[in-house]
Structure formats: structure tokens, C-alpha cells
């Protein structure tokens, strides 16, 4: 297992590019960065992100849930309040919209925790600190 460290983003990217083009399979490389570098995802051929589906399903669930809650609350005990119709669409759509945002955000957050595998036991251990420089770890056993 080789551990390479770089201060500069450009050096890091050059070395990573060289490793990938030199035949090291992407799954044998573990890369850590002090901040996001979008080119790395392309170099390592990472699959497209599926987080948006968590957000989408959360949002749809929220909208449906909001409508379900409000409609259920009035249809079961239909009282005319303030002269408004029993099924009052404007306020009910508003509640649905708010729950769309709430559950969409929470869904995305849950998806993030799941896919980033956080909380991470190895990260919480003594040696697993977040580095302040770019790190490439080449796992030779998994390599060619």
C-alpha cells in the first residue's frame, strides 16, 4: 500500500491522472482531498450520483403526505369553518408544498448519510483524521 501526499492541487491531479492512465484500476485508489475537486470524479469514473432520487421520493412523499393529512382531517369531520369549502385547495396545496420541501430535504440528507457511509467508524478512530492535504492511497493487492 503506497500513500502519496501533495500540497498542491495541480500536482495531485497530474499524479492521479498518471496513475489512472498508467493502468491502475480506479477501485484500487483511495483519494482524500481537503476540498472538493470535481475533476477527480471524472478521472476515477465514478457512477452518476443517485442522491437526487432520495430527494425526489422524499418530495413526492411529502406532497402526497401533506395532501393526505389535510384531506383526511376534513373529510372525516366535515365542518364549515370561516365559510370556506370542506375541501379547500389553496391552503391544502400550501401545506403539501411545505412538506414537499421538508421531506425532500430530509430524504436527501438521509440518502447522503447512507451513500457517504457516515458516521464512519474508521473516520472516528484515532488515525482517521480528515487530512489537510491531498492524499492518494494505492492498494496494491487490489491492483493489476
Amino acid at each position: 500500500m503506497t500513500r502519496l501526499q501533495f500540497e498542491s492541487r495541480e500536482e495531485f491531479l497530474e499524479r492521479l491522472r498518471a496513475l489512472v492512465e498508467g493502468g491502475t484500476p480506479p477501485h484500487a485508489l483511495t483519494v482524500q482531498m481537503p476540498y472538493e475537486v470535481p475533476e477527480v470524479a471524472i478521472l476515477l469514473r465514478e457512477p452518476p450520483d443517485r442522491l437526487r432520487f432520495f430527494a425526489l421520493f422524499g418530495a413526492i412523499g411529502g406532497f402526497g403526505g401533506g395532501l393526505a393529512l389535510t384531506l383526511y382531517s376534513v373529510i372525516g369531520w366535515p365542518i364549515v369553518v370561516g365559510g370556506k369549502p370542506i375541501v379547500s385547495w389553496p391552503p391544502f396545496l400550501l401545506i403539501g408544498y411545505l412538506l414537499t420541501i421538508l421531506l425532500g430535504s430530509l430524504g436527501a440528507f438521509a440518502g447522503f448519510l447512507l451513500m457517504a457511509r457516515l458516521p464512519s467508524p474508521s473516520g472516528l478512530s484515532e488515525g482517521g483524521a480528515f487530512p489537510d492535504r491531498f492524499v492518494i492511497v494505492v492498494n496494491e493487492e487490489a491492483g493489476e
Binding site: R52, G83, K84, P90, P91, L93, L94
Partner: protein, 360 residues
């Protein structure tokens, strides 16, 4: 190649178009009248919004606008044309309920004078801004701001004077802001249409910036659909909730009968539903066809909305309305292709810098 003004060859067709519109409107062709009022409300919004979007982008330093700046600014010429067409509204002032008993603010002369003056001022500010914006150098922030002031004033009065006072004494204080946002929205839609119209040229030039700019416009259209939906909901919900007879009458009258009832559902679907659902998928945001289709739907939705607002008071003929709008659409396309010059990179193949127009 910076000559922006090329009046001589354009003056002829414009004069013919103006005469055609005037004839359709005043020539007694059909029993209806007032179509030009609806047409002008829609097209001042679109043309002013087109320039306003560039002005806002100039002030905030947005990068997408560089790809379609000239094409959007071509609407400045349309503004002059529309200001001239406003003269046709003078004989239509008796459509307004306050015409019989005018007051200090709503009286024929003052009404006509201030709106004509604002249209002219906005057109002038648009020309000034357009000239500064296409010239190389620092962004034209001051003239952009001046234009935006005129734009805000003019669109506010289009809303309050031209449209809201048709239903006098009905009041909705958001109307001005609503029309301003709709004008900007229309400007974004026009940008979307421009991206579709000129897509073949851009691909021929392999302009990498073009794709990024188009995606930004798709995002803007998506964002504006949410903003528009929010503003529409705010206005509708308050009127619904208060249920005051003097306010609700406006909405009830329009929802009670055809065609305004159907047009009402149509415009909500077209201005919110279509852009929101149509541009939600990531792939749609990158597709010129999706953006173009959504933009066209959106503009038709805006037309439906103006009809819903104005139809009960304006006994227009739909045929005349359609012809007028087609004429103006044709003029807009000619202006965009004639005055625009996609980006600053010269066209591939035989072509003078600065096209001679036409869909060659």
C-alpha cells in the same frame, strides 16, 4: 462589426406591418374591437422583459447572457414599434369603465399621455442601453439601471392602468410586481426560443459556452416558474380567502363562463406546470428542444392569461388577435436574426460578419 442600427431596409416592412395591424383593428373588418390592446399588453411585456433580462444580467455579471445578448437586445427596436402602435389605443379608451366619469388619475388624456411617454422613455432607454451593452469594454451598469427604472415604471402602469383599470374599481396591489416578474419570465422564454432558433449555427461553430449558457437559461426558466407560481398563488389565495365581494367578483366572473374558465386552467398549466415538470429532469435542462418547447408553451400561457384578465371588458375578435400576434412574432424573428450575431465568433463558412437575416 458593431453596427447595431440598420434602419433603412427594416423601415419598409415595419410600416407595412403597422398599417396591417391598424387596418385589422380599426378598419371594421370584424365586429370585435380591442384586440390590439391585448396584443400590446403581451408584447410590451415580452419586449421590455427581453431587454430587462439583459440589463439584470449586465448588473449582476451573469455569464450566460453573452451568448444571446444581441438577439435579446434586438427587442429594443420592437419597443419603438410598440410605442408607435400604442397610438391605436386612443380610440379604444371608451372600453374603460372610468371613461364616462374620469377622475384625476384615470382620465383619457392623462392616461394616454403618461403611458405613451413611459413607452417612449423605455424604448429610448432600451436603445441607449443596447448600444452601450454591445460596445466592448466595461459592463454598461448605469444605462442598465436607468433602463430597469423605466421598465419597472412602464410595466407597473401596464398592469395598473391598462389591465387593472379595465375592471375598475377592482384593486390588486400586487398587479404591478406581477407583471414585472411576468415580463422578466417572458424575456427568459424568449432567450429559450433564441437558443432553439440558433442551435444549428452554434453547433456548427462548436461553441462550448453556448451549451453552458443554454443550461443556465433552462435553470432560470425553472426558477421563474416557481417564482411565478408563488406570486400567482399569493394573489389568488388572498382573494379567495378574504372572499370580499368587491374583490372576488373579478375572479368569479372569469371562472364562471367560457372561454375564460378554460383559458384560466390553461395558463396555470402552461406557466407553472409545463416549465416546472418539463424542466425538472436533468436531461431536459440540457436539451434545446425541451427548452424551446417549454418557452413557447409559456408564452402562449402568458397570452391566455392576458386574455383571461381582459376578455370580459374587451370584445375582441380572436381572428384579429391571432393575426396581430403572428405579425409581431414574425417581426421579432426577423429582428433577432437580422440584428443578432450569436456571440462574437464569426459564422463558419461563407458569411459576412453580421448576417443579412433570413433563415438561410
Amino acid at each position: 462589426m458593431n453596427r447595431f442600427v440598420r434602419w433603412p431596409w427594416l423601415a419598409g416592412p415595419l410600416a407595412v406591418a403597422a398599417a396591417a395591424i391598424a387596418f385589422l383593428e380599426l378598419g371594421g373588418v370584424t365586429p370585435g374591437r380591442g384586440a390590439v390592446l391585448v396584443t400590446l399588453v403581451l408584447w410590451t411585456g415580452m419586449a421590455q422583459g427581453s431587454v430587462a433580462v439583459v440589463a439584470a444580467a449586465e448588473i449582476t455579471g451573469a455569464r450566460w447572457v453573452a451568448s444571446v445578448k444581441r438577439e435579446l437586445l434586438a427587442a429594443a427596436h420592437l419597443l419603438t414599434f410598440l410605442a408607435a402602435l400604442f397610438l391605436l389605443v386612443w380610440p379604444l379608451l371608451d372600453l374603460y369603465p372610468w371613461h364616462a366619469s374620469p377622475g384625476a388619475w384615470l382620465g383619457p388624456r392623462f392616461f394616454f399621455g403618461r403611458n405613451l411617454a413611459l413607452l417612449a422613455a423605455t424604448a429610448g432607454a432600451a436603445h441607449l442601453f443596447a448600444r452601450r451593452a454591445v460596445a466592448p469594454g466595461a459592463p454598461a451598469k448605469r444605462s442598465a439601471f436607468l433602463y430597469l427604472l423605466c421598465f419597472v415604471a412602464s410595466q407597473s402602469l401596464v398592469a395598473f392602468d391598462w389591465v387593472m383599470s379595465l375592471a375598475y374599481p377592482w384593486v390588486s396591489s400586487m398587479f404591478g410586481l406581477y407583471f414585472i416578474v411576468e415580463a422578466l419570465y417572458a424575456g427568459v422564454a424568449l432567450a429559450g426560443l433564441i437558443f432553439l432558433l440558433l442551435d444549428r449555427d452554434a453547433r456548427a461553430r462548436e461553441d462550448g459556452r453556448w451549451v453552458g449558457a443554454r443550461r443556465d437559461v433552462a435553470l432560470l426558466a425553472f426558477g421563474f416558474s416557481v417564482l411565478w407560481g408563488g406570486l400567482f398563488f399569493a394573489q389568488f389565495m388572498l382573494i379567495w380567502y378574504g372572499n370580499l365581494p368587491e374583490e372576488v367578483g373579478f375572479v368569479a366572473e372569469r371562472l364562471a363562463s367560457s372561454p375564460t374558465r378554460q383559458l384560466a386552467f390553461a395558463f396555470v398549466a402552461a406557466c407553472f406546470g409545463a416549465p416546472f415538470l418539463g424542466l425538472l429532469p436533468a436531461r431536459a435542462k440540457r436539451s434545446p428542444l425541451a427548452l424551446g418547447a417549454v418557452s413557447a408553451t409559456l408564452l402562449l400561457g402568458l397570452l391566455s392569461e392576458k386574455l383571461v384578465f381582459m376578455l370580459p371588458a374587451v370584445p375582441l375578435s380572436f381572428g384579429v388577435l391571432a393575426l396581430q400576434n403572428l405579425l409581431l412574432a414574425g417581426i421579432w424573428i426577423v429582428l433577432v436574426l437580422g440584428f443578432g450575431q450569436t456571440g462574437s465568433i464569426p459564422k463558419v463558412g461563407a458569411g459576412a460578419a453580421g448576417s443579412g437575416g433570413g433563415l438561410a
